[in-house]
Amino acid sequence: MAESFPVKPKLKPTASKNTLTPESKYWKSFKVPKEIDALSKSSVIPITSLSFSPVAPHDLAATQSTNVFRFPGKTLIPKSKIASFPDTSASASFRCDGQLLAAGDLRGGVHVFEAKPTSLSKLKDLRRLKGHAAAARLVRYPRASDKFHLFSGGDDSVVKYWDIAEEKCLFSLFGHKDYVRCGDASPVSDEMFVSGSYDHKIKLWDVRVSSVGSVMELNHEKPVESVIYLPSGGLIATAGGNFVKIWDVIGGGRLLYSMESHNKTVTSLCMGKVVRGNGDDAEQNRILSVSLDGYMKVFDYSKFKITHSMKFPEPLMSVAFSPDCSTRVIGTAKGTMYIARRKSKVETEKNSLGDQFGFGAVVDEPQRKVLRPSHFRYFHRGQNQKPLEGDYLIKRQKKVKLAVYDKLLNKFRHKEALVAALNGKNPSNVVAVMEELVARKKLLKCVSNLDGVELGLLMGFLQKCSTMPRYAGLLTKLAKKVVEMRADDIRSSVEQRNHIRNLKRDVEEELRVQQSLLEVQGIISPMLRIAGKR
């Protein structure tokens, strides 16, 4: 007995990159947590900076308007205001132990305050560093171990190095010729940091040789919006204009790569990590870049390849990725924060606990119980057993899935099959049934047998789909035939006349489109011909 074939629509050409790469799967696994509203929108004021605390549980600090907000790292709610400035706040930065937080304001002040304020010290600065003549847009603590200094940069194009305890500017670094808007401290050394400015230059500073000026100068060729050190400390990434550049600092400031896939100004960069399985290369570093065009792109700087990109509906201003790889936060120009978390596996936590206390190896597995016939599971044992190499497999015969119209077609009830397909949602199935009816030479007979309601269904379908390019070959001819055949029925019913009117409108619209397409072709084809001659 030959197998039975259900009626299938024609195959569509498939895009070759339909499947998700493991990398995109990873980035898609960041989901908005349930307990946070989909968009934690509070105002229309842009979120200027985002920063994660370097120590667990990795609290998040965000600067928005005149305030600095803190989000507890475990749950990210509720947010609490921890500082309020006289002017718009910018560039929050945690100290390396996560106890203190520093931020600048647009009047030029740099504020240092407690990251977890108690009720007593609420909203009070511990230190206020004054010295910038214009807005302080860059405030950074050194990242390695130095707890007593920080550096700041301002719109007065000066970079200052501060002793926090004494509220004293140790020295000012001159060299930039425009606003200093960004910078980063080296992850390996407390003395090295980098600053970027709107004069297209990135300057590398060493506080040990502060008198010499900058150690190195790089030219980004666009106003620099963001600079970060890559984890090795030997590479830096700079963003400005529509592109991101990777520089080799140790190798004398050599440009390694320029990533130019954003369409608008790249506003912020941060380091991300891809965690996959266990093994040597379980963790891989990525650069996350966000831009005003609403895209977040993930860049693999070891292969110089974009591995993932994500579209957001608003211009993006800032991005942060938590050091434990569980949270990704993006702040937009309209005040929305897109927070997404990834479920970290429970086992890994357990393991880390075990390791901490040092008896990870001692924990032994519970002994497997031997099943006895007294237990119900005894009678179900072995059902999930996988076949061995040499086992003789008996496959259950694959059942052919038949839709309603397939069954009706098998019974030669053609009109009912057509109506059943029309009642379905998928137009490609309807067209497949129509093609099968053509192959049986029964389509026109079916059309002539349709009653009022069913004819209305068909007319509705024709109106909707007959101008779709994929079905137009069959459906435009069919529509013409249907109108010819059922002219009397259509005239007699108001509903059908409505369908016809709609159909007419669609056909006219389609003709207009065709006309304009022809015009475009007329414009292009001489150009193509000229181009071909060269």
């Binding site: 007995m1 195959l11 003789y392 098998n410 053509v438 389509l443």
Partner: protein, 771 residues
């Protein structure tokens, strides 16, 4: 030279007594197939014309089941008696009339009583009067005659009936009735148990308004079923009760009332007639089950219907795939066979009606294919492997091995349910195979309904090198807009295909890997489009072929002015030409010879083949390119729609029969009805003889695995040897038998060990020392 591709379904097959073999009439021979493997095991050769019936002598006792005797009849007027186990011809009877059908009632009726003497065996044959054949005015040509097989002669002066066309005779399973159908009536004779030379027969007729196409007798009762062209099945009960029961009416009062026989036409001798109507077109198969409870019917729809005789309830075996022709049951109640028009015999496992195996020959060309012959190709050859690819009616392509005379595989081209009774709307038009056979490309066409919904799709198939199964690689819908494809061709030794259309353009398709070697996708893509002055690419020239490795081109054109022309490519001029209609051209790959298939009706006008024998419809002419005189000719039959090709005889090279000098190429000819001949083009007589078909005469012992073994494989050999090691006797304990049984039951010693101790304990132990 050998032939093959015979039709398996020209006449009903027959099972041997042990149901392990199936005897199938294949042209002039009877082929014996094993039912367990589906392979051919033997052949009975001897008839000079088509064999029309084969009857296996049934076993009267269980012991005689091993006997393998059969009668065959043929159109050459001979009836032969065979021992098909050997196989060996035992007897020949010449009756000088072409026999269209034969039945032997006495084989079925159990007359061989142990005491009685052996009666003469009579056969009833349906013959054609050849003397009247010339006279076209007389339309009644068929006769039903009686033949004494024991005395090897026709029974003179006895002619049961004259019928218009010699048809088949149907016999009842008990052997006491035979019948024929002719147009709207059935003729039934009763055969007495003790048949003599001169016996007067009683005959009844049953009438109907439509032409009959099938009939069957009930095994035990007086029930007769007949099917007509409209698909109705008529079942008469109590047929011939009046006529055949010698006037002694069992229930006289009932039968004399004329009105009490519902449905029976006046004058017919039957009690009642009921009509069943399920089939939508003519009924070809009618068969009662051996217990008489069920009636099997089948027809054009390709559905086997099982009717419960008492209630009329139906059960179906659908989607057999092509119209049914015969249904035969076997002595084994679990096995029966259906013959289908697509040259396939399906073996059914019976109560469940599953198809367990099928024996298939080359698919026959579609009867209605001529309508669409304008764009359609027939058989395609695979030059190297000796395969042919045949597009079939149910949207498949069948691969058939010429050397093995056996189906190799089938590929479903279009995934659509095939309804055999529909007129053709979807058709596989063109098939092309690449030279190495690894790629196939097919074109299928769906004909539009009043201008709506026509579709041409071009498909590329890739052959898996391990399983040799073709799998779909690429589909291209409407490759040339709406225009139909006129032909496709592979470029030798590269993955490139050219398709030309009636719309005036041609396209070059390449495999994507050729362009982008790193691309994982193995699909095909269009590489270039071209056209010649926007003219449709359907010239009157139908065939173009380069002649081997020489610089010659041969072209053939059809139409009103057919021409076969030889061109020299180096001089760009005609060398010679014939006014010859060429059906097919094949050119050798090795040397500058080529073969032309020319149908003879057009040949006669040129008068070039005077020597064609009678009955041949065409000739194969073998030319050398330089020489206009053919150096060899063969006359063949059914040249219309035939195909020619040179094939490599490399499959022989491993056999010792390979003729080293000329064995390079063989010429294969497939006729219009898909029978084929393979011959050596340069053949002297010796080399012709040396080519013989590889016979895979598999032995019958290859039994089918069934039951446990078919699921789990063979069990390891299990020996019934009993463990002979004796039980070691219990260590002589001082325990008395009472203490032996104390303790928990599971720690008791086994009974055989206990037994001796127990018995011992019962007996009084005599002290060893007798004083």
């Amino acid at each position: 030279m050998f032939t093959g591709g015979k039709s398996f379904v020209s006449s009903p097959p027959a099972f041997s007594n042990d149901a392990k073999r199936l005897l199938v009439c294949t042209g002039n021979t009877v082929s014996i197939f094993s039912t367990s493997t589906g392979l051919q095991t033997g052949e009975l050769e001897g008839h000079g014309a088509k064999v029309t019936s084969v009857i296996v002598v049934p076993a009267s006792t269980p012991a005689s089941k091993v006997l393998c005797y059969c009668w065959t009849s043929s159109l050459d007027g001979n009836i032969k008696y065979w021992d098909f186990a050997a196989p060996e011809l035992m007897k020949t009877i010449d009756i000088r009339f072409p026999i269209h059908s034969m039945v032997i009632p006495s084989l079925l009726s159990q007359t061989t009583e142990s005491s009685g003497k052996i009666h003469d065996v009579f056969a009833y044959v349906s013959t054609e009067d050849v003397k009247l054949k010339a006279d076209k005015t007389i339309s009644v040509r068929g006769q039903i005659q009686k033949c004494n097989l024991t005395k090897s002669r026709l029974v003179g002066g006895l002619e049961l009936a004259k019928i218009e066309r010699p048809g088949s005779i149907i016999i009842s399973p008990s052997g006491n009735q035979i019948g024929v159908y002719e147009k709207c009536k059935l003729l039934i004779w009763e055969i007495p148990a003790k048949d003599l030379d001169q016996h007067c027969f009683k005959k009844i007729r049953l009438h109907h308004t439509k032409s009959f196409t099938a009939m069957a007798f009930h095994p035990t009762e007086r029930i007769l079923a007949a099917g007509d062209v409209t698909g109705r099945i008529l079942v008469w009960r109590g047929v011939g009760r009046k006529t055949f029961s010698n006037g002694k009416l069992i229930n006289g009062g009932l039968n004399e009332d004329e009105d009490d026989s519902p449905g029976v036409r006046s004058g017919d001798d039957a009690d009642s007639c009921t009509t069943w109507h399920w089939h939508s077109s003519q009924v070809n198969v009618l068969f009662f089950s051996s217990d008489g409870a069920y009636l099997y019917s089948g027809g054009r729809e390709g559905v086997l219907v099982v009717w419960q005789l008492d209630t009329g309830k139906k059960k179906f075996l659908p989607r057999i795939g092509s119209p049914l022709l015969y249904y035969i049951n076997s002595p084994d109640p679990t096995l029966s066979s259906i013959s289908c028009t697509d040259n396939r015999i399906q073996l059914l496992r019976m109560p469940s009606m599953e198809i367990v195996r099928s024996i298939s020959g080359i698919k026959l060309p579609s009867s209605r294919a001529e309508m669409y012959d304008a764009y359609g190709s027939g058989v395609v050859f695979n030059h190297t492997a000796g395969l042919i690819a045949v597009p079939t009616e149910n949207y498949r392509v069948q691969f058939y091995s010429l050397f093995d005379d056996r189906e190799v595989s089938e590929v479903q081209i279009c995934e659509r349910n095939h309804h055999p009774s529909d007129d053709i709307t979807v058709k596989v038009n063109l098939v092309a195979l690449s030279q190495d056979g690894s790629t196939m490309s097919t074109v299928e066409t769906r004909l539009p309904e009043e201008g709506i919904g026509g579709l041409v799709s071009l498909k590329f198939w890739a052959c898996d090198s391990q399983s040799k199964q073709f799998s779909l690689s690429t589909i291209i819908y409407e490759p040339h807009r709406e225009a139909a494809i006129s032909s496709i061709a592979f470029r030798p030794a590269s993955h490139m295909v050219v398709s030309s259309s009636h719309g005036g353009d041609f396209k070059v398709w390449v495999r994507r890997q050729e362009i982008h070697p790193k691309d994982q996708n193995t699909g095909w893509t269009c590489h270039a489009v071209g056209s010649y002055k926007k003219k449709p690419l359907t010239a009157p020239i139908t065939t173009l072929s380069f002649v081997g490795k020489s610089s010659y081109l041969v072209s053939a054109s059809r139409g009103a002015d057919p021409l076969l022309t030889m061109w020299s490519m180096s001089k760009l001029c005609t060398i010679w030409s014939y006014r010859l209609h060429a059906e097919a051209i094949a050119s050798s790959m090795l040397n500058s010879t080529f073969a032309v298939l020319a149908p003879s009706k057009l040949l006669k006008s040129t008068g070039s083949t005077a020597g064609t024998s009678q009955g041949a419809e065409g000739a194969i002419l073998l030319f050398n390119a330089e020489n206009p005189v053919p150096f060899a000719t063969w006359s063949v039959s059914k040249a219309q729609g035939g195909r020619l090709s040179f094939i490599q005889s490399s499959p022989f090279s491993d056999n010792d029969v390979a003729d080293t000098t000329t064995a390079g190429e063989l010429l294969a000819y497939v006729s219009g009805c898909h029978e084929y001949v393979v011959l050596s083009p340069h053949g002297d007589q010796d080399s012709k003889l040396s080519i013989s078909r590889r016979r895979n005469s598999s032995s019958l012992d290859e039994t089918e695995r069934f039951g446990y073994a078919s699921i789990y494989g063979e069990l390891p050999e299990f020996t019934m040897e009993i463990d002979q090691t004796p039980f070691e006797s219990m260590p002589q304990s001082e325990k008395t038998w009472k203490t032996i049984f104390s303790g928990p039951s599971h720690s008791l010693p086994p009974l055989p060990k206990l037994c001796s101790d127990f018995l011992e304990s019962l007996l009084e132990r005599r002290s060893t020392v007798v004083e």
